[in-house]
């Protein structure tokens, strides 16, 4: 087990290397001179020259990349072109907000999605099943930002119960997390349904039933346990989707998270921050996928990673 975790940790090195290359060339692929872009419209030639020297743009590309890697290793992502604060500090200040929303959303999505999928799978082709299937398809097709706006119209404009945006109290968390939950609950319910349907048709489920076990025991102890692997995969993947969804949800609700930071930096062409935030999201996503793989081994003793 320990060996497997080490092996998986090592296997993300090429991915991280790829991400760093991608980010490195992202800045270099900008049309025009990156120093000019970073310095802004009003910069004097001296300013640009200074930034060029500061960024090491006057050195050969391979040295620039080596320096870039060295900085990454120290979590030095440069300074924001807008605020002049270190990028890592800007991200660090907002990351807890984004994680809070993501964790609340994924928890709610599991609490609703998994039971919905189980209900759907244990009563296939009944009204309840069709209801869950239709709701899931609606959820997948719905633009998350539109749902957010509709929630604001209903719960902030028509019924003035909840704040339309911002932070400060638990009330502020409700609408953004419901929006994000709706974004992922559908995928989880769908995967639970199909995974459970498959397991429920297996011989061991029939055996469990013919032993006279209660249906509840058969479904929870025998079926769900075996159906968990694909469900965990989807939950892991959805966590990544949440990071993408966070960009939109945080914009709708003016939520001060990393997603909003990305949009603001793109609009302001603040490249060091764009680079840093995308790197952090890529890193989180990769680590979550690694965690999912490790959880597999706990859930399913048949999986042996040698």
């Amino acid at each position: 087990m320990f060996q497997y975790v080490i092996k998986r940790l090592l296997s993300i090195i090429p991915v991280l290397f790829g991400i760093s290359l991608l980010l490195f060339f992202m800045l270099r692929a900008l049309p025009g001179d990156p120093a000019q872009v970073l310095a802004g419209q009003m910069a004097t030639p001296e300013d640009i020259e200074h930034i060029r020297h500061q960024l090491g743009l006057d050195k050969p590309v391979y040295i620039q990349y080596a320096v870039f890697l060295g900085q990454l290793a120290k979590f030095d992502l440069g300074r924001s072109a807008r605020t002049q604060n270190p990028v890592i500090q800007e991200i660090w200040a907002r990351l807890p907000n984004t994680i809070l929303l993501a964790v609340v959303a994924i928890t709610l999505a599991c609490l609703f999605g998994i039971p919905a999928g189980i209900i759907s799978a244990t009563r296939p082709y009944t009204f309840l099943d069709y209801l869950v299937t239709a709701a899931a398809l609606f959820g997948i097709s719905m633009p998350v930002f539109w749902l957010g706006l509709m929630l604001v119209i209903v719960f902030s404009v028509i019924l003035p119960w909840l704040p339309a945006g911002g932070t400060g109290s638990w009330k502020h968390v409700i609408l953004p997390s419901i929006t994000l939950t709706a974004f992922v609950v559908a995928f989880i319910a769908r995967m639970t349904r199909s995974s459970m349907l498959e397991v429920l048709s297996q011989d061991y489920t029939t055996t469990a039933r013919s032993k006279g076990l209660k249906e509840k025991v058969v479904v929870i102890k025998h079926a769900l346990k075996n159906a968990l692997i694909p469900i965990i995969t989807v939950v892991g993947l959805q966590f990544g989707m949440l990071l993408g969804g966070a960009v939109l949800t945080e914009t709708v609700f003016a939520w001060p998270g990393v997603g909003r930071l990305i949009v603001d930096s793109i609009l302001a062409r603040d490249y060091p921050v764009i680079q840093g935030t995308i790197l952090i999201f890529g890193l989180i996503y990769t680590l979550v996928n690694l965690m999912v793989d490790v959880i597999y081994a706990f859930v399913d003793p048949r999986i042996r990673y040698d």
């Binding site: 930002f145 930096s265 793109i266 609009l267 995308i278």
Partner: protein, 296 residues
């Protein structure tokens, strides 16, 4: 006489072997939900084609006296902050969204499918390098990747299309590679190799047709995803730029009037939702109809 013919036809359907295409078509026809999806898409295509007939006039011409009007007979879905008919802009927006969907899928198909075929068929170093690139791209959630690419390429319709298209490429590579790996081992591929058929011919004639099912399903789902992503970029103000009527951009500007004129943000969202729903329903239906492992 007619009865005899009908009986024979029915008999054919029930007992004699029929082509996989016809069998899939029968299955698809029986799947009412998928047909509804197809119907929605057809409706959007017709709207896009007939836009000038359905809405004569310029959907982007401002008319400030009529700003933020609620739905009425003259403007069934109301007007936006510049007094433009929301219905007219939704109608013309279908042209933008469908072009984006087609553009996005084209990028994914023309780059992702060949790379997936090559990666799966040749294996070895080519496969290794291509898979590491795919891993890197998949290390980012799709929307975030598109967002990062827009940051580099700049805003606008074409750049949004290319960015989202690139974000789709790794999905196609992964999918096609996986299927190619399985098909590569088939006896007919081995036979073709044994008689000295060129690799290009094997890939195009023998492997590609056998991986078309998942590609078709993925394409329908990708079109829905493309519309959703493009609307997301538009909403954030970094996709299609005004005054081009684009659903996401319309929603983004409607956000400022939620308290006084909620209809501005409501209707474009429904347009996006139904279009994406159409592609998702059709994609799901196609998967059920085309995948022989799935029996109704």
């Amino acid at each position: 006489m007619t009865d005899t013919i009908r009986n024979t036809a029915d008999g054919d359907r029930d007992h004699s072997p029929i082509s996989p295409f016809r069998r899939s078509w029968f299955k698809l026809k029986r799947n009412k939900v998928a047909l509804f999806g197809g119907f929605l898409i057809l409706l959007y295509i017709l709207t896009a084609l007939l836009a000038p007939v359905l809405f004569p006039g310029n959907p982007s011409a401002p008319n400030l006296i009529m700003a933020l009007e609620t739905p009425s007979l003259k403007h069934p879905l109301g007007t936006d902050e510049l007094g433009r008919s929301i219905l007219g802009r939704i109608i013309y927006g279908s042209r933008v969204s469908l072009s984006i969907a087609i553009g996005v899928v084209s990028v994914g198909l023309f780059i992702g499918v060949p790379l997936g075929l090559i990666s799966g068929y040749y294996g070895g170093k080519t496969d290794f390098i291509l898979q590491r690139i795919t891993d890197t791209l998949l290390a980012f959630p799709g929307f975030l990747l598109a967002l990062g690419l827009v940051a580099v390429l700049g805003v606008g319709l074409k750049n949004a299309m290319v960015s989202i298209g690139i974000a789709m490429i790794p999905l196609y590579i992964r999918l096609v590679r996986g299927c190619t790996l399985a098909v590569r081992e088939e006896i007919y591929v081995e036979a073709a190799k044994a008689v000295g058929t060129r690799d290009t011919v094997i890939l195009l004639r023998h492997i590609l047709p056998n991986v078309m099912v998942p590609i078709t399903v993925q394409t329908s789902l990708s079109m829905g995803m493309g519309i959703l992503f493009a609307a997301g970029l538009g909403f954030l103000g970094i996709g299609v730029q005004p005054p081009t009527p684009e659903w996401g951009t319309m929603l983004g500007s409607g956000r400022s009037y939620l308290f006084h004129a909620p209809h501005v943000a409501t209707f474009p969202g429904i347009a996006i939702f139904l279009a994406v729903l159409g592609f998702n329903l059709l994609g799901d239906g196609l998967r059920d109809a085309l995948d022989p492992r799935f029996k109704l």
